[in-house]
Symmetry: C2
Subunit: 276 residues, 2 copies
């Protein structure tokens, strides 16, 4: 059953962004039935697998397509869960997750896009960035390691870099997983309470949480400055996991369908080949 | 003995470039004495080693410096020889040569700057590009694989990319090794005649040689479009190896001296440390 996706426009980031005005608890992609949502997500995951196969098959085409999904959001906003959920039907052969932590010594010895460029999608590949180059305009700015002028330069570098990927056949989907501070408290507490999840908890996360408003403001600046025609941002209300998964799966399916991929033609005459 | 380097300005590429007007046989950096030139080059190589040590020592500084030397030129123009000669005194620890051949399948599956970015200099490092990302606006254009619009986009990407390296502390020196068609004939013939050098000869080089004028024109466009304030090009008359080596060694020594590097201060109180 095809559902209207007109709501997506509302969540696409334009020149200005006020995250306060977007309800993290909204569920525009979800219905009132959990079962129906699960069924719809299962459908979408199968469709994404079909399209990702086509993408992979076209990896040797004249202008091979690539897909980059950038996931950003506060701690516990569900970046891991999204990647698992949206691509659950896909073969790992063509889907790769690149997670970015605090840069290592080697990485810091280069410009901030160096490590990112190195893991960008190759022909026919889907790559999910779990955190990304956007961390480099968030953390260092909020922590006061860089000033507004340096942030501005980095934002320009990001736009030039994403333009390069775009010009080279990469479709870019960027999602900000928008959760509320209350929801984060519950999820952090759950991590603390559950011995199986406790490893995910870091004391430093609490320090970041204390700077919630500063981080939201930094996100507003970064997202508005980099939501370009070739690499737009969507704000995804993420207090509801169903909404988050459905909305991002829809964006991914739309991006893949928009490539209008066909199975590549063989470079030999199939009629002339005989299996004996 | 300090020599005037005022001639360098003449060879710095501006907004327009006519290679026909620059004599490949010129020897602005050389003298009439081969011995004096050799001695001067030996002096420069020692100075470059001293400065490269300082560069390496500052690899963990707050804003660590890096040096990128880009060497471009027709076949046999002396790119290998330059790298060997200019850095002959340096430790290989801090000097790396990255050679770019026709892109592999993996490399072609990415944008054209991907493989280049991956080997860009890290903090405190000198990297020499033997050929470079400039090949991607030369060969494909002359061969008709890309049109002028795509070349234009790539040139813009190159400028943005080099700006990124520059903003991240990389000093960029770019040299076009300018030889005459006659000189190339002699050098190619010498490769063919010398069994020890024959491996360097490829039949494809002759096809490229037939397109000499088209390649010169492509170089003129590329060099003029990318000779920016932060990454200027110099045309180096290269029929004379002495001139070529002296001129490039001078540019490298100037670039390193321009960083005004000092030995980094230790992060402990040396007076409080006792070796017992």
């Amino acid at each position: 059953m095809a559902r209207s996706t007109a709501y997506l426009k509302t969540y696409r980031v334009g020149r200005k962004l006020r995250l306060k005005d977007i309800d993290p608890g909204a569920r525009p992609a979800a219905s009132s039935s959990r079962e129906a949502d699960d069924a719809r997500l299962a459908e979408l995951a199968i469709e994404i697998d079909r399209l990702q196969d086509l993408l992979y098959a076209n990896g040797s085409a004249g202008r091979p397509p690539k897909l980059l999904l950038v996931l950003q959001g506060m701690d516990t906003s569900g970046k891991d869960g999204t990647a698992r959920s949206v691509f659950r039907q896909c073969s790992p052969l063509g889907v790769r997750v690149a997670a970015f932590k605090a840069p290592t010594e080697v990485e810091r010895a280069h410009d901030f896009l160096w490590r990112v460029h190195a893991v960008a999608p190759r022909a026919g590949e889907v790559v999910v960035f779990n955190r990304s180059h956007y961390e480099d305009v968030l953390v260092p700015f909020v922590e006061g390691w860089i000033d507004a002028a340096e942030r501005q330069r980095r934002l320009a570098h990001i736009n030039a870099f994403e333009r390069l990927l775009h010009d080279s056949g990469t479709t870019i989907v960027k999602c900000f997983l928008h959760i509320s501070k209350d929801e984060q408290r519950e999820r952090l507490q759950a991590r603390l309470d559950d011995p199986a999840k406790r490893w995910k908890f870091q004391v430093g996360d609490l320090e970041t949480r204390e700077k919630w408003k500063a981080y939201l403001a930094a996100y507003e600046t970064a997202l508005a400055a980099t939501s370009t025609a070739c690499a737009p941002w969507h704000v995804v209300p993420a207090d509801s996991k169903s909404n988050r998964n459905l909305m991002i799966a829809t964006l991914v399916a739309q991006a893949l369908a928009g490539m209008k991929l066909k199975p590549p033609k063989p470079d030999f005459d199939p009629a002339a080949v005989r299996v004996v």
